[in-house]
Structure formats: structure tokens, C-alpha cells
Symmetry: none
Subunit: 410 residues, 2 copies
Amino acid sequence: MSDLLETVRGLAKKTDSKIVLVVLDGIGGLPLSPGGETELASANTPNLDALAQRSELGQLELVGAGITPGSGPGHLSLFGYDPLKYVVGRGALSAVGIGVKLSSGDVAVRGNFATLDGSRTVLDRRAGRPSDEKNAEIVARLRVAIPDIDGTPVEIYTESEHRFVVVFRAGAGEPLGAGISDVDPQATGVAPLTAMAHDAASERTAALVNAFVSRAEEALRAEEQVNGVLFRGYSDVPHFPSFDDAYGLRAACIASYPMYKGLASLVGMDVLPVEGQEDALDGKLAALRDNWDRYDFFYFHVKKTDSTGEDGDFSAKVKKIELFDALLPQLLALNPDVLAIAGDHSTPSRLASHSWHPVPFLIHSEYSRKDVTARYTEEEAQKGSLGLRRGTDLMPLLMAHALKLNKYGA
Amino acid sequence: MSDLLETVRGLAKKTDSKIVLVVLDGIGGLPLSPGGETELASANTPNLDALAQRSELGQLELVGAGITPGSGPGHLSLFGYDPLKYVVGRGALSAVGIGVKLSSGDVAVRGNFATLDGSRTVLDRRAGRPSDEKNAEIVARLRVAIPDIDGTPVEIYTESEHRFVVVFRAGAGEPLGAGISDVDPQATGVAPLTAMAHDAASERTAALVNAFVSRAEEALRAEEQVNGVLFRGYSDVPHFPSFDDAYGLRAACIASYPMYKGLASLVGMDVLPVEGQEDALDGKLAALRDNWDRYDFFYFHVKKTDSTGEDGDFSAKVKKIELFDALLPQLLALNPDVLAIAGDHSTPSRLASHSWHPVPFLIHSEYSRKDVTARYTEEEAQKGSLGLRRGTDLMPLLMAHALKLNKYGA
């Protein structure tokens, strides 16, 4: 836990005020050529402009100077968890990415289906890249064959082709360690390796993994192609003080994509159902309205600003920004005590990828000072009174503006 | 290693892009009287102005708020090494300052020549302040007398008057510790002290120092005045992850003065020969051009902006800034992917010394956002989009702009 989070935790108090944090995924951009305008600056955003004129702005660096954040670290930073400290590994992110809820102490493992011969020699590390349907069929069979191992619950999830994820649940028992060696030999013509524990906390995990390998081979004996499993990319789940524990907040997640729902559930938010296709802005707004009285904090995720940037489609990203702008009045009509708009990282169309550039952020509350900013853009945010900050500063600021923090010291 | 450097190290990738970091030594200034213009603002710098208008600017604090950096900590910060963590002691800085290349595990010691009587009582702790020529003659004699001690290579360097430096080389053996007590009693009328180790890692060093004292006295027995040695100011050399290790960069140093070449070699840069007198800007530019294809990163040092500031000569500092401005087009003609201009500390002529004021810095790359800054000056840098930052943020930013960093997390 970062020092500031620990401090905030000791000061948090419950009040009736409501905070809405809108995350415009990948919102920060770049001009198409040096000196030009970014996507945000190019967009026609009368509602965002008006809001910016009565809000405070600044820039957030989610992980650190020059570091391009993945979605996981970017969101953890916005939620107040130092992403250099709360590391969520590949296995856990894969699980979270398909919507699995993980708890502290669990271990998530990425697996490949493989083809073995009769003497357990690996013939194909990807089992001939089976169809997603075949994958799902095999997973269903393994779920029946391996519901638990010696009392430890085992969950198996399909990803796609040869990829699947296994979650070993620690439950009320000792946390499972992830310090174990790979089963995947990363070569054909040899047998799968036996997983070995690197530390005492991982010995039970190694035994579980090795038992899983044997029982899966047993269950898939009749299969010609998909008859073995290989593992690498184990990750345990760090202990997150939940939103309730850290901030005293009843928090809800309003998002459409599994990865973001998974991240929110990792920090203890309730994930609300959202109706509608894809980004489903109307469905998200309805979820917000319908649950307004039940929560103190809403994480409201807008995905398409990132996807269009990843596609390198400048004008599509501009349109998605304008779509959000059109929705904003209805969001403001709910009259949140604190409204923040931020991004989890920049995704300039120019780079067609995430980038290290800081994201503009905005805080609107009754307790804001006058700011000079005229628009919610990168250039205006540079002038904003909130300055250039680490992403983990956002939550303490939101808590403060919502009058949910006691004084520190006498 | 700071967390960010460790993170950057895990993300660094090799590409063909080229970074040039120009360090205008002591560049930050002050007005001669409050409200006036600084040296940078007074200088006529059409090329720097034009560059600033298509670059991002900000301010760097090299060590921390209010801390006036020495050249060592200032440079280490620019190179990405937290100067509060990577402490290079006086002995090592003295050695580096006269151009000695140090490696991790070596110990450098500052020595004084002293006058002893026949019963080893210290009569003069500075041996009557011998001439530099006498110092060099004595050092030459000691080099012959003490080439090594029990196999540990010993190097002896003249500084001036009564001062010299000894380097004990760890070589492939155990690193030498510097936790030993002084030989210098800091008083006359008593004998030199016996060096004692404060920790196990320094026991060999203490034995080396005591052996050096005996053998030096033996070799100088015939001298009347310069016939003893006193030691204090031991320093070991911290382990620096090299530029190659930390950043995956083939890095070159283009500097004229020994101290800067020594610092660059400490972090594993190749030190390129530079033709010409004193600051030798033309020679530096030639070295840059001639080696352009061989390196990914160039540290280009300009010294005179500091020396003139140290002299308290405002107009001379202005002229040195204008000299660099005149050179800038030739540097830009090489078309570096990333060009940064910064200082290792401020040296206002008004103070005739280093100062704590942040230094303006500039990053020029294809992936910069539009900035509002019109000139490379302290005042404009305050408005810059890069904000006020720690010096150690610079290298991650340069790596990012050069597209040499992978994403952090998924």
C-alpha cells in the first residue's frame, strides 16, 4: 500500500456525497503531425468545454515518467493503488480479462493445450490450434473431470484456440504462492516438465499443478490432438485493500468489457449489469441512474476512445469523444457531488498504441478553485491548477472534494 | 536502483533511434537584480528559440527541493541514477575528477603528504605545502615503490600541493569496503593513526591502507619534509547498472573535462576523444559526427556556461550561451530522433556558485505534444507541458520519445 493510500485509509469517513469517476480509456492523444491538434482538441465538445470552464484540470502520469501503462496498471493507479507495488501478473490478467473474479491468495495460470504421443513426448505445443468450439468442449470435459484437487477448488476457463486459464482457489486456507517453474518445456520432442516450487509458499501450488497435468492427460486420453496441457505464466493475486476498506466507499463498476469488470472486482467494487451492445453508453447511463441511491462511488468506463486510437483512426476517436460529450448533460443531471474525468493512459491514433504521454484530468465539485482552462484538452490541462501528478493522487483528491476525509493531525 | 530505473530496465528495447542529450553545465541562472532577466533570457538565441517552439519544455530538480547539486549528483540524476541513493564519495569524486576510471568494488582514498619526525610524530599535516612539481616527483617515486600490495593493484595520482589520491583495485576479487577509520589524526604532535575496519568487507582495505602507510614512509625515509602520508575520505564505488544494462544503450560521452569523462565512464559510457582547446565545441561536434553510426546515445557536455557563472561573469555566460546557439543548427542537421537540452544544476552569475534553482529542460522529438513555450529560458520552461520534475525522470522520458520502452503490464 502506498504511503498516501495508507494515510487516506486512516482518514476516510462515510458521508452521503457521491463521486463519479469517468474513465475515457486511452483518452490522451497526439497531433497527426507536430504542432497540430490532438483528437480531444479537434473534437466538437460544447458540454465538456462548458464543464472544463467550471472545473479544475491537470495532467496524470499513471505509472511514472516515460512509462507506457497497460490497462491494468493504468486503472490501478486511478483507483489509488501504486501500480509498481500492486503487480497483477499475466495469468491473473488473463483470468480477469475473461471476467473471472480473483481473490487474494488465489493463483491463476495460463495454459496451452498440446499434443502428446504415447510416451508423453510433446508433438505440438499448441495442439494444432484447435477451434474455439473444440477448446470450449475440452474445457467442459476437464471441468467435470477436475472440479477440485484434494479439496482445493479448481476452475477452468476457455480463452481461444489452444489457450485456457486455470484458477486454483485458496479459499479460507493459506494463500497459494506463484513461485513455481514451468510445465511447458518450450520445445517439442521432449516431455512436459514437472513443476517445482521456488519457495515454501508455492509448494502446494506446484503439487496442484502437477496433479492437474496428470488428471487432464487421463481425462483426454482418447483425444488424438488435444491430449495434453502445458503451463507457464503463473500469478498470484496481491492483497488489495478493498475500496470499502481503503476509502469506506460502496463502489460500483459500470463497464462493458470483461477486463475492466475484472479489475474493478479485484478492488472490491460491485460490477453492475449493463444492457446494450459494445460500449453501450445508454445502457451505462441507465445503470448509473438505476443504482444511484445504492452507492457512493461509480467507476464509469468508456472503451471506444481507446479502441479507435489503437486502430490508428484519428477521426473515429474524435467521433467517440463527441459521443461522450453528447451524453455528458444526462450524467451531470444526476448532480454528483464530485465528477472526475480522466484516462487510464494515452492512446494517440498517431501511434496506434498506448503511450507514455500524461492524460488530462478534470475534477468538478463545489469546492474547486477557479481555473484558467477553457476546454478538456491536453493543451489546456497543461495550464490547469491541479498540475502534473501521479495517477495515485486522483482518489485522495476525489475523496477530499467529496468531504470524505478527516483532517490529518491536530 | 530507484524503482523507476528498475522498471525502465525491464522495459528497455534496442532500436535504431538516436538520442542526443546536451548538458549545458550550470545553465540555470538568476537576474542580476530581482525582476530582471536571467543569462538565458538575455542571450540572443534565434536557433534555441525556434527549437523551443517545436519542443516540449519543463524544469528539472536534480536532487530535491532546495538542494544545490554538485556536478556529480547533478549528472547522475540526469543519467537516471537517484543521487540520494548512488552516493559517490569524496575519494571517488577526486579520482574521477582527475580522469581516473573507477569500477564497482574499487576504493579511492584521498591522501595528504605530511612531515613526521624520527619517532613518527606528525610535525606538519600538509608537509609544508610542497609545490605541484614536488608532489608529482614524490608520487612518481611511490608508484615505483608500491605497484601493488600482496597482489592488490595500487594506483597513485597527484592532485596538487600536499594532496594525492590512491586507488586500490578490487579486480576480479571481493569488492573492497570503505568502512575504515582515518589515518590522519587531525592534529600535530601525535603519531598517525592505524586504520581500523568498521565492518568485515573493509578489513582487507584497512590492511592495504596500513601497509601503504608503512611502505610509503620506508620509501620516503630520506626526505626531510615530505616523508609521511595521512589518509581520510575513503570511498567505495557503488554498483551502477551500466547504460547498456539499464537502458540497452550503446552510449558515448563527448566532453573535454576529466570529471565529466570520469562520471560518464562510471556509468559505462565510451569516452570519445575530443580535439581542440578548452570547451572545444567544434571538436565535440566533429566527435559527434564521426561516431554517429556507432552509438544510440550521446552525452554532449558544454562546460563554459558553468565556468562563467562560477566566475560571476553575467555577460560572459550570455556569450557562451550564444556560442552554443550558433552551433545548434549543425547538431540538428544530424537529425537525432530525440534531442534533449538540460543542465546538471543552475550556476547563476549573481551567486557565482552552483544553486538549487531548477534547470530548464527541453525535449524535441516527433512524438511531442504542442507546447506553449516560445524560448528555452527559465521563465518559459515554467509554462512547459513537461512540468517541474525530478532529474531522474529525464532518461525515462528520452527512452519513451525514442520508442525504446515496451508497455508496462497488459
